[in-house]
């Protein structure tokens, strides 16, 4: 690999990079603090702040493009954050192609989703806009998320990464639980936070190991010296980092929070749980590529996690009727692809980021489309109640369709470029790895085509099943197209879904990212020739579409979920028993343990204390009966004492 690029101090617009996250952060603060007064204009500020960040990001991007590739990595040290002994954690930013890519994705897609949310979160008809503070609250939390996410990608050391990492976790928690009075939302939020914390432990421990061995946590210094470490240590670090990535990105075995996170408002699902936050794990591994480069074993584990996850996501996605959950499992699966890609090492880092970007477009578009559908359908998410909506909401239909095609890898749409590249690289591996990675990825591509086609058919085609049904809130369904403030962003994202793949590969994303990720190494011809792979994937996807059409499209969809069903479907409907596993192995014993400990503490530890006191008291109550009031018994005790003293003294003397 090439020598790490020289790190220069940030200049020009780069020195204002702190504004990137400061603007949304201040906006969030204002929205939180201003209270009811800001109800009327809160959303405007929220959108404006993210747009401002986006503009600044573009300016910095353009400035960076203007310099030579080896001078594109800059740092901006703001102040010393945590300093003690030899530990000195800088509050410093690293502006390089990788972070700038993320900045643009976050603020770009973020801006669109903010705009969309203005419509989506608008107070219900009849409500006084200034009295409903939920939209203001929403924008405050969304701004907080953007700020935290930007800190995550811009930080120049692991601790700042951790700050952003947990910061987005908080924002995610708040937004998943946005509908606070829904118990399921609260539970989902809590679950997300907890499973993320499991990952955070990994990240934290990785930081500790790095600190112990290298005495620094700055990316530049760590990457420069990581080669001095022993192989075992490096493997430990990579696995711990991977644990962190699994938590944040919903990878096996920590994937089960992500579908539940769909309890949040749909723009949140689009921004946080599809486009940006959940890809932080990919970012983490890509960012620490100098470490992963040193440990093939670590990379194999990463890739295997990706493979397992992408299969799990694809399989479960086939079974759900909830439109957002299908998309959520699709996200799990697609991130599995990215993790697989970065697990391939130098042959895949850039591909992972590439897929991350295209996925950001089409998955955000899909979620916004789903949100538009829900908006039209009284917030219902059950696809069995939909049907034939394509005619009712044409813009949504078209934009959603673009995203759909991009996702299943329709030729020359963005997914085609990014996903196929990953599958190609996977087949490019040697030996069993090539077969396992490649075949799994191909199989999942087919499954993806199946479930997405199923989703399209159930939602936009076929009979209008909703006509004979009541919505969950008791009203009739009145599907309608969404307002322009919502369709606008959807159109933009649809355009992105269509063209992003082509454009990004044409302009040379790989070269752009090279200063951060190293040169992309073309994978050698592995177990399958490169030329063969696209055809194989295409065939597999087409098969998926066909099966979906045969299974779902050619016969009416029952409104009631069919029961009983075969074991694979049952298993998929129950998330392949991931939740059941968590419940049986962790939750129930945990509750039992807690109760047992409470009992132990009250009766055992405290019981000992109280028992000692009670024992003293009881002993006292008994012993005082010896004070009988009879003078002769007193004399006896005195005599006894005297005999003891005499006997003891003589015994001591003569013994």
């Amino acid at each position: 690999m090439t020598a790490p690029p020289e790190v220069l101090p940030a200049t020009g617009a780069g020195s204002l990079a702190w504004l990137l996250f400061a603007i949304p952060a201040v906006s969030a603060l204002v929205l939180f603090l201003a209270g009811k007064r800001a109800n009327a204009w809160g959303h405007v500020l929220g959108v404006a702040s993210v747009l401002a960040s986006f503009v600044l990001g573009v300016v910095i991007f353009v400035q960076t493009l203007g310099v030579a590739p080896d001078q594109r990595t800059t740092e901006l040290s703001l102040y010393s954050w945590i300093s003690s002994g030899t530990l000195d954690v800088d509050f410093g930013l690293r502006i390089d192609p990788l972070s700038l890519t993320f900045v643009l994705l976050i603020t770009g897609v973020g801006s669109l989703i903010h705009i969309y949310s203005v419509g989506y979160m608008a107070p219900h008809a009849g409500a006084e806009p200034s009295s409903d503070s939920s939209r203001r609250r929403f924008f405050a939390q969304l701004n907080l998320f953007v700020a935290a996410m930007l800190v995550l990608v811009l930080g120049n050391n692991f601790v700042l990464l951790y700050l952003g990492w947990e910061g987005v976790g908080l924002a995610s928690y708040l937004l998943i639980g946005f509908y606070q009075d829904r118990p399921s939302a609260a539970t989902a939020a809590k679950k997300a936070f907890l499973m993320n914390r499991v990952g955070d432990v990994g990240l934290a421990l990785a930081i500790f190991v790095l600190w112990l061995n290298l005495g620094t946590l700055q990316y530049t210094e760590v990457f420069a010296r990581v080669g001095e470490l022993s192989g075992g240590t490096i493997l430990a670090i990579t696995l711990l980092l991977l644990l962190g990535a699994c938590g944040k990105s919903g990878q096996f075995p920590l994937q089960s929070w992500l579908p539940d996170a769909m309890e949040g408002p749909t723009p949140v699902s689009a921004l946080i749980h599809a486009a940006t936050m959940v890809t932080a794990g990919v970012y983490l591994i890509a960012r620490t590529n100098p470490i992963y480069d040193l440990t093939p074993t670590g990379r194999v584990v990463v890739a295997l996690i990706g493979v397992v996850t992408l299969l799990i996501g694809a399989v479960i996605g086939c079974a759900y009727d909830d439109i957002k959950k299908v998309l959520a499992y699709s996200t799990v699966s697609q991130i599995g692809y990215m993790i697989l890609a970065v697990g391939l090492g130098p042959a895949g880092y850039a591909l992972g980021i590439f897929h991350l970007l295209t996925h950001g477009f089409f998955k955000a578009g899909l979620f916004l489309g789903a949100g538009s559908v829900m908006h039209a359908m009284n917030d219902d998410v059950n696809m069995r109640n939909f049907g034939g909506l394509g005619r009712r909401m044409p813009i949504t239909f078209v934009t959603f369709g673009c995203g759909y095609l991009a996702l299943i890898g329709f030729p020359f749409l963005s997914g085609y470029f990014s996903k196929d590249a990953i599958i190609e690289a996977a087949f490019g591996q040697e030996g069993w790895q090539g077969w396992v990675y490649g075949l799994a990825a191909t199989l999942a591509a087919g499954l993806t085509a199946f479930y997405m086609t199923r989703l399209m058919i159930m939602t936009f085609f076929g009979e209008e099943r909703w006509r004979n049904l009541k919505a969950p809130d008791g009203e009739d369904y009145h599907p309608h197209e969404s307002p322009p403030v919502m369709t606008g962003p959807m159109i933009v994202l649809a355009i992105g879904s269509v063209f992003a793949g082509f454009v990004l590969s044409a302009v040379g994303l790989n070269q752009w990212l090279a200063p951060s990720l190293g040169e992309l190494q073309e994978s050698p011809a592995g177990v399958l020739p490169h030329a063969l792979v696209p055809w194989l994937v295409l065939a597999c996807s087409a098969l998926g579409v066909l099966v979906a059409y045969l299974v779902v499209g050619r016969r009416p969809t029952p409104v009631q979920r069919p029961e009983p069903v075969s074991f694979p479907v049952r298993a998929a409907r129950r998330d392949l028993y991931a939740n059941a596993f968590n419940e049986t192995v962790i939750e129930r014993p945990g509750i039992w343990l807690t109760r047992a400990l409470v009992f132990l503490d009250n009766r055992g530890v405290d019981g000992l204390v109280n028992g000692l006191a009670a024992g003293l008291g009881g002993g006292s109550a008994r012993l005082r009966r010896l004070q009988t009031g009879f003078v002769r018994s007193y004399a006896l005790s005195m005599l006894g004492g005297s005999v003891f003293v005499v006997a003891a003294l003589l015994a001591v003397r003569f013994a």
Binding site: Q627, Y634, M638, F644, A648, L649, R653
Partner: protein
């Protein structure tokens, strides 16, 4: 003639009058007090006795102060080597005089209990009950009793004033006790201090039965204990051929006689002293007598008797048995632990305040033993300091107890103290402070004293005992805390006791107790200096 000439001329032993002046003043005052009792008209006795007592104590105090200013550090032995006047003696005398003064104030106060807390006998009580304040003796009552009753017509009833000579004699006995240089003097002093105490215990105006019972118990057990003391004396005499403390110490180093005499004698002697100091398991009289005796007398006993008993114990163990402490220390460990355990544990469930303080006194006796057992200068000085600190705190506590009353007399049952803080915040505050002092919380004398004693003990290699003592301190703290909880955190009962406005005497005594408790906690340097000035002379 010739024969007469051959008899050596009698040379009276030299007496250092200046040194023993305080003792002489007190004993002389006691004699004068008896004369007052015999010859003064009834209604003049109270003021005269009070004035005399205060005067005696004051003069004795001045004499002590004057002598202490120029006393040789090494101490002197005088009166045919019957008495030793050394640093500890002077300190103990001072302590006894001041505590005695405080107790006399409590005894003399007539405002709390109309007519004072003392009366001579049950029959008189009956006559009072039959005709309070009548001008002439009612029919059917022996005229003699009427004559000895309560003062002139129309006057407030006067109190029984025999108590003053008794207390003065007891005080004199105590002073001789702590200064005694031989066991015989010690025995005589023991009786001089004990006999008046037995009597005054039975003089309570109210709850006569309890009071008399206390007197009987105290007397019988006290006499029993002095028999032990005396037998110990005899054995030691047999061992050493002398009852002088120094002679015993010398004999213990090298004598052909059987050590059985030495240790048997030591054991019995110590038992007699431990009894007086209410050390467990020889404490059995303490709760009953503390409860039954009139409260001012209890205060006197608790404060002064403890000083005297431990002063004597200190002298015996250090001077006569200092060289054999390896033999007796183990046994004393057991006794100390037993005493602390009995006091702390049994105190937990007491329901009568005076009884509770009695058990507290037993526990404190255990703590004091730690200091006594340390055969070092710190051992002596810390014990002396502890005695002073404890005496004042206890004096204050009993002073407060005497103020909380129902129509039936003192309200000593704990339940009657519930919610006292609401009705009388100052009194509750004073009591709380004193109780915290007994518990040994810092910034009270109790803490300084405990610290001194325990550091002396630890310095002499008794670390485990110190830890045990501290644990029992914590246990004992519970019952002090119980009183505080009752006073502050509980609701007042309907028919709760009232708090009497204390008369000047009681006020002074309680204030003395509080101020000394505070001062010795905050700035004990001066007193520590006195306590450490000069060791025991033997």
């Amino acid at each position: 003639m010739n024969a007469l000439a051959q008899v050596a001329p009698l040379t009276a032993p030299p007496i250092d009058y200046a040194a023993i002046a305080p003792l002489l003043v007190v004993l002389g005052g006691a004699c004068v007090s008896v004369l007052f009792e015999a010859f003064l008209p009834r209604h003049q006795r109270w003021p005269a006795q009070v004035a005399l007592s205060v005067l005696v104590v004051a003069v004795a105090g001045i004499a002590l102060g004057v002598y202490a200013g120029s006393a040789p550090v090494a101490g002197i032995v005088t009166l045919a080597s019957a008495l030793t006047v050394d640093g500890p003696t002077l300190f103990l005398w001072g302590t006894l005089l001041v505590l005695g003064f405080g107790s006399l104030l409590l005894i003399a106060d007539r405002s709390v209990e109309p007519g004072g807390a003392f009366i001579a006998s049950a029959v008189e009580r009956a006559s009072v009950a039959a005709a309070p304040g009548t001008t002439t003796g009612p029919t059917g009552v022996d005229p003699e009793h009427v004559d000895r009753s309560y003062g002139a017509p129309g006057e407030a009833p006067t109190m029984q004033t025999e108590v003053f000579p008794f207390v003065l004699f007891a005080l004199g006995g105590m002073m001789a006790f702590v200064a005694a240089n031989d066991l015989l003097t010690m025995f005589v002093a023991l009786e001089v201090l004990s006999l008046p105490l037995y009597l005054v215990c039975g003089l309570a105006r109210r709850r006569r039965l309890l009071s008399q019972e206390a007197a009987v118990k105290y007397f019988l057990l006290g006499a029993f204990a002095s028999a032990f003391f005396l037998y110990g004396l005899a054995l030691l005499y047999g061992y050493a051929g002398s009852v002088k403390l120094v002679a015993i110490a010398t004999a213990a180093v090298g004598t052909p006689k059987s050590d059985a005499l030495l240790f048997g004698g030591l054991a019995l002697l110590v038992v007699g002293l431990l009894f007086k100091g209410s050390v467990g398991p020889f404490h059995t009289w303490t709760p009953d007598v503390y409860q039954g005796a009139p409260t001012p007398i209890t205060a006197f006993m608790a404060a002064c008797t403890k000083v005297a008993a431990f002063g004597a114990l200190l002298r015996v163990l250090h001077v006569a048995f200092g060289s054999t402490h390896w033999e007796w220390r183990g046994v004393m460990w057991v006794v100390a632990i037993a005493s602390m355990a009995i006091g702390a544990v049994l105190g937990l469930t007491q329901t009568d305040l005076k009884r509770m303080i009695a058990y507290s006194s037993v526990a404190h006796a255990g703590f004091l033993l730690l200091g006594v057992m340390a055969i070092t200068r710190e051992g002596v000085s810390s014990t002396l300091f502890y005695l002073l600190a404890y005496g004042f705190t206890t004096l204050g506590v009993f002073g407060v107890i005497s103020l909380v009353r129902t129509a039936d007399g003192e309200a000593t049952h704990l339940s009657q103290w519930a919610g006292l803080a609401k009705r009388s915040p100052i009194l509750a505050g004073v009591m709380t402070f004193l109780l915290l002092g007994l518990a040994g919380i810092p910034l009270t004398s109790g803490f300084t004293a405990k610290f001194a004693v325990f550091s002396a003990a630890l310095g002499d290699g008794m670390a485990p005992l110190v830890v045990i003592a501290l644990v029992f301190s914590a246990v004992a703290a519970f019952f002090y805390l119980r009183v505080i909880v009752l006073m502050y955190f509980s609701e007042t009962p309907e028919d709760g006791p009232t708090v009497t406005v204390p008369g000047a005497f009681t006020t002074v005594a309680v204030t003395l107790g509080v101020v000394v408790t505070l001062l010795l906690g905050v700035a004990p340097t001066l007193v520590l200096g006195w306590a450490g000035a000069g060791g025991l002379t033997g």
